[in-house]
């Protein structure tokens, strides 16, 4: 079964008026199968949201992009602007961070959902209206609410409506950018539940971008950890938890507080590097408790370290002479 979403060596830089370019994403690759949920985790500014925007070609004109994005076998970025526009919302759709503002305030929710279908021709007229109602019901909103304006919905309901709109044309890939920010915990749980259920039922491939690791461990079977524009580790979430192969991953999991645990919550001291300067060696080295000399000199390769598990860390290098300050765990 070939993956429905394949990202290959994606690089994104932003040109800045007076200064060096910002290399926001530096060679990111991952793949997601139908019905699979991948969590893309990292601190603010690590490039995860930018990556997501690139998958739909929604980058500003200051961006310089390299690499390939394959959705259902089609190279969406390289088939021309019309093909890209056609792919948007029919093959791949997105739920934005703070969907509070994703809706046009002077049009009803129903109108905007119907628009998504009519523009693509998937449903028109009465059929589109009926489906709008069905989609709203699917996400737990009474169908009559379609005639209301966005400001008449609560934040959580708007997020659900945004989800309904994203599913309008039966996309194969669903992208979610921090879909639960600014929502309270109860609503968060509902949204995540909804995402899980829908990706299972509809066999969607989901990429969930978030800084919230607990959310990912709950919802996603696979996770990719991003740091400073690169993926430093990727694999089954369970494995990342039990057997992390990158110090950053380990520290992230250690920073997750658990109820009933009796230890001080660890945090990772320091800050991510600036992205407008070239980095020598591993970008995590300055903050890494296990950093060695080679880390500061050479960029670590991305290696297979298990079943569908990769990591980019010198500690996994089998040729390295193992001194006692050895393994990751």
């Amino acid at each position: 079964m070939s993956p429905v979403l394949e990202v290959e060596d994606l690089t994104i830089s932003f040109r800045v008026d007076d200064g060096p370019s910002v290399d926001a994403v530096q060679g990111v690759s991952f793949a997601v199968n139908a019905g699979e949920r991948l969590g893309l985790v990292g601190e603010s500014g690590c490039g995860k949201s930018t990556t997501l925007f690139a998958l739909m070609g929604l980058l500003p004109n200051t961006a310089v992009v390299g690499g390939n994005v394959m959705i259902d076998g089609r190279n969406v970025l390289r088939e021309g602007p019309e093909a890209l526009r056609a792919a948007r919302w029919s093959d791949v759709a997105m739920v934005f961070q703070g969907a509070m503002n994703a809706f046009n305030p002077v049009k009803t929710i129903g109108w905007q959902i119907t628009e998504a279908m009519e523009v693509k021709g998937t449903f028109t007229g009465k059929a589109a209206l009926k489906r709008t109602g069905d989609l709203l019901e699917l996400v737990g909103i009474p169908a009559e609410r379609a005639a209301r304006f966005p400001h008449e919905f609560s934040g959580g309901m708007r997020q659900r409506a945004a989800l309904a709109m994203a599913l309008a044309n039966d996309p194969k890939v669903l992208l979610a950018d921090e879909p639960t920010t600014a929502l309270d915990v109860m609503v968060q749980a509902q949204i995540l539940d909804l995402l899980e259920r829908l990706t299972d039922e509809l066999e969607l491939a989901l990429v969930l971008v978030t800084h919230d690791l607990p959310m990912v461990t709950e919802t996603c079977r696979r996770a990719a950890i991003m740091y400073a524009g690169k993926i430093v580790e990727e694999g089954p979430t369970e494995t990342l938890y039990r057997d992390p192969r990158h110090p950053y991953t380990r520290l992230l999991f250690e920073a997750m507080p658990e109820i009933g645990e009796d230890r001080t919550v660890a945090s990772i001291p320091g800050a991510p590097p600036r992205m407008d300067r070239p980095i020598v060696g591993c970008s995590f080295a300055p903050r890494c408790p296990s950093a060695m000399d080679v880390c500061r000199a050479d960029l670590p390769d991305t290696r297979d370290v298990g079943a569908r598990h990769i990591a980019a860390c010198h500690l996994n290098d089998p040729d390295r002479v193992v001194a006692t300050q050895g393994s990751v765990t």
């Binding site: 526009r85 948007r88 919302w89 503002n101 305030p105 002077v106 628009e115 523009v119 693509k120 304006f149």
Partner: protein
């Protein structure tokens, strides 16, 4: 329910403003240095009987307060006094003037709004391109020209040098010499209306362009525009169905605020072209210190602006579903 509250408040405000203006108008002309109460009766060559009648109507020998009430009373009856220069009733003079001004100003304003919106849209659509630069440069250029100067320039070029248009008036002169057909009259009227209207249009459009451009740009940076783009909508659809409507909301308010500028422009334009409308009336009344006419004209102009502002409020109300108290 809440929405109608807003409407009612706006209406009330318009009425109160009108009332304050009437009061201000009254007191301004009575507190003039020099002559105290008798200005209204200072009609040259008036017969003593006429003077006495005016004095009675406006209570000119009584206290300020009683004069004020008398004034309000006369106002309610549509009596604004007599012109110093022509001894005609101010009301009829005003009415004739307004009838002439209205089509000219309407033409100019419509032209400027249409062209302003079009060029503002064009500039915002192609942000960063030559279209935006040309559009804004042109808008700023015309916006900076003094109204009377542009009018005089148009006369210099199109009347004196090129001879395409008549020198002034509305061509009513024709009525005495021949009896032209309705179409010829219409054509003549349009010809003499055109340059003044064009002047107004050129002066105004620049401001509208800049307002529309910045209103749209702000809209185009909003999240829901990004969502619309993500939905695969074409640029044109995004602009026309989403951005335009939202971007226009503040524009309606800002255009309404320019009604005052239109009023000023009308006075200057009609003075330059000797166009027999309320602007020329005002200008002449200022020059000849014909206070009753000036007072009446000012009132008329101000009330018109208030009324149009109210209409703009109503239109905004219709456009934006979010309006509550």
């Amino acid at each position: 329910m809440k929405r109608t509250d807003w409407l009612i408040r706006r209406l009330l405000r318009a009425l109160i403003t009108t009332f304050v203006i009437i009061t201000f108008n009254f007191f301004l002309f009575r507190i003039m240095p020099g002559d105290a109460t008798a200005n209204l009766s200072r009609i040259p060559h008036a017969t003593p009987e006429l003077k006495a009648e005016i004095a009675r109507q406006f209570g000119l020998d009584k206290s300020k307060w009683e004069q004020y009430l008398a004034y309000l009373g006369q106002l309610a009856h549509g009596n604004l006094g007599l012109s110093f220069t022509s001894q005609q009733p101010v009301v009829s003079v005003l009415w004739d003037a307004m009838v002439h001004s209205f089509p000219m100003v309407a033409l100019g304003t419509v032209l400027s709004v249409v062209f302003g919106i079009a060029s503002g849209l064009w500039a915002a659509w192609r942000r960063g391109g030559w279209q935006e630069k040309t559009s804004t440069a042109s808008a700023m250029f015309f916006y900076s020209l003094p109204t009377q100067f542009l009018g005089l320039m148009l006369i210099l070029v199109f009347v004196t040098w090129l001879g395409w248009f008549p020198a002034g008036g509305t061509g009513n002169e024709f009525n005495f010499l021949e009896n032209p057909s309705g179409a010829t009259k219409m054509a003549d009227t349009l010809r003499s209306m055109f340059l003044p209207a064009l002047t107004l249009a050129l002066i105004l459009y620049g401001q509208y362009t800049l307002i529309v451009r910045s209103g749209l740009l702000e809209t185009l940076g909003e999240d829901y525009v990004l969502t619309a783009k993500a939905k695969g909508l074409s640029d044109r659809r995004i602009m026309m169905k989403h951005a335009f409507r939202n971007g226009m909301l503040p524009v309606v308010t800002l255009i309404a605020l320019s009604f005052g500028f239109i009023a000023a422009g009308t006075i200057l334009v009609e003075a330059v072209f000797s166009y027999p409308g309320i602007g020329l009336l005002t200008a002449n009344a200022i020059k000849s210190r014909d206070y009753p006419v000036l007072q009446g004209a000012f009132l008329m102009i101000t009330v018109s602006v208030i009324v149009f502002n109210l209409l703009a409020d109503l239109y905004y109300f219709k456009l934006d579903p979010r309006i509550t108290t």
